[in-house]
């Protein structure tokens, strides 16, 4: 197999190194960068994110990454907040009055989870549920546990590939065209997480 060139988009967030180390463990070379050339030349892109939507979108804007990401033709995998940023809009606005416009690559929105008496953040290992087949889920049984940490979630939409349920059903894996995302952290999800990353590399 030809080694795909994978660029982890440097969003300046704290989990960049975890994502890179996960690929290192798989023997897959990656480059962490926000240089336009590195994004354009990559065969695959990873969009990591940790923190808040408003801060992360501001960072994408500052680093002039918004148009570059929107114009990407290669497979892109958003992780956690990176997936949420693919949506139309996020309600994770913090102290501002306005909702946060996102990349608008997936026709869905992100809002605070309604969980009743359950605790937030939704933190820990939870099960995903899906129907049919998807290249990202090859060899991963329905009901597998992945590691989640979040309080906001993407609503279920036509782009939803897999769901998770915590108080309510939300999108655990999404895909619209070449833009994919996981709400959970595959880089921290043990063997099944490594399998999902391998599947992405081999797509």
């Amino acid at each position: 197999m030809n080694k795909p060139k994978i660029t982890i988009i440097d969003t300046g967030c704290a989990n960049l190194s975890s994502v890179k180390l996960a690929f290192d463990r798989l023997g897959v070379e990656t480059k962490v960068s926000f240089d336009p050339d590195d994004l354009k030349k990559a065969d695959k892109l990873i969009l990591p994110g940790v923190g808040t939507a408003v801060a992360a979108m501001r960072m994408l804007n500052e680093r002039r990454l918004i148009d570059l990401i929107k114009e990407a033709k290669q497979p892109l995998l958003g992780i956690c907040l990176g997936m949420q940023m693919l949506s139309r809009v996020s309600e994770e606005k913090m102290n501002s009055d306005e909702n946060v416009p996102c990349l608008n690559l997936v026709d869905s929105r992100v809002r605070l989870m309604e969980v009743g008496n359950l605790r937030l953040p939704h933190m820990g290992w939870d099960q995903i549920s899906y129907n049919g087949e998807h290249p990202l889920l090859r060899g991963i049984p329905n009901g597998s546990y992945f590691y989640f940490v979040h309080s906001y979630a993407m609503e279920v939409s036509d782009a939803t590939v897999a769901t998770c349920e915590y108080g309510e059903k939300f999108t655990a894996i999404v895909q619209q065209d070449n833009f994919m995302g996981t709400q959970f952290h595959p880089e921290k999800s043990g063997a099944v997480g490594a399998k999902l990353l391998t599947n992405f590399v081999e797509m």
Binding site: A14, R25, R119, P121, H122, W125, D126, V149, Y166, K188
Partner: protein, 257 residues
């Protein structure tokens, strides 16, 4: 369904894993990385590393072991000890830790909780609470600087008030170390956990006292904590993680496969 978490805790002192009884008389348990790897391979859901010398020694502690752990571990882990600023936390998160846990520095400067939560998100910010039951006063109180016996002090905080306070300030998770039970292997303090559970709206982790598998069961079933943390029973091979998870599954606790 969200799984209950089994969390081995590795107390780190000068770069090796140690364990004491009621926070004293530390004995060396082994190197950090092989122990961490073993627990992850055996099915631990998460790991916590407490650098127990850090806060009480008021010095910069070498944290490069965090990177070595991050290189080999593919489950989440949290680092505690000596984190007093945004920069301290940033360094540890950049090394690859998922969360930082603050304890004594949060008592010295409660605003630190908010600063960390604003910068890194509440999911990164764990507050560890060393809670001691004072039988004379019939009161759970919060202790500070428990890493060194001579420096340990009792704060003015009652445990439940401090839980409320840290939550309001942005703690994303609380680890309740029940000091009277620590290292005794006689079970978690279920009464205290019930009170803490009723107070904590964020994930709550029980710590201190696990000695048998039934102690984990009781904490999960009777107090609905999100995770159980333990050290000596795992380090000394008294309880094997795969066996514990099988047992809890049979007892009807939601446990990751």
């Amino acid at each position: 369904m969200l799984a209950k978490r089994i969390i081995p805790c590795l107390d780190v002192k000068e770069g090796v894993v140690v364990k004491g009884v009621q926070f004293r008389n530390h004995e060396v348990m082994g190197d950090i990385v092989p122990l961490a790897k073993r627990y992850a391979d055996e099915g631990a859901d998460e790991l916590v590393f407490y650098d127990i010398t850090a806060s009480s020694d008021a010095r910069v502690v070498d944290k490069s072991w965090v990177r070595r752990v991050a290189e080999v571990i593919d489950i989440p882990f949290c680092v505690a000890g000596g984190i007093k600023s945004i920069d301290d936390a940033k360094r540890i998160l950049e090394y690859g830790a998922d969360k930082v846990s603050i304890n004594s520095p949060a008592l010295a400067d409660p605003e630190l909780i908010t600063r960390l939560a604003d910068r890194f998100g509440v999911q990164c910010v764990v507050v560890g609470i060393d809670s001691y039951f004072d039988a004379e006063l019939d009161r759970y109180c919060v202790k500070q600087y428990t890493g060194v016996v001579s420096k340990t002090r009792t704060t003015q905080w009652s445990t439940m008030d401090w839980i409320r306070e840290v939550q309001q300030r942005g703690a994303g998770e609380i680890v309740l170390n029940m000091m009277n039970q620590d290292g005794m292997r006689k079970g978690y303090d279920l009464e205290q956990l019930k009170k803490a559970r009723a107070t904590a709206k964020v994930p709550l982790i029980a710590s201190g006292g696990a000695g048998e598998m039934v102690h984990f069961r009781d904490a999960f079933k009777e107090t609905d904590v999100d995770g159980c943390l333990a050290a000596s029973v795992f380090h000394k091979g008294i309880i094997a993680i795969p066996e514990l998870k099988d047992y809890l599954r049979k007892e009807g606790v939601a446990i990751r496969d």
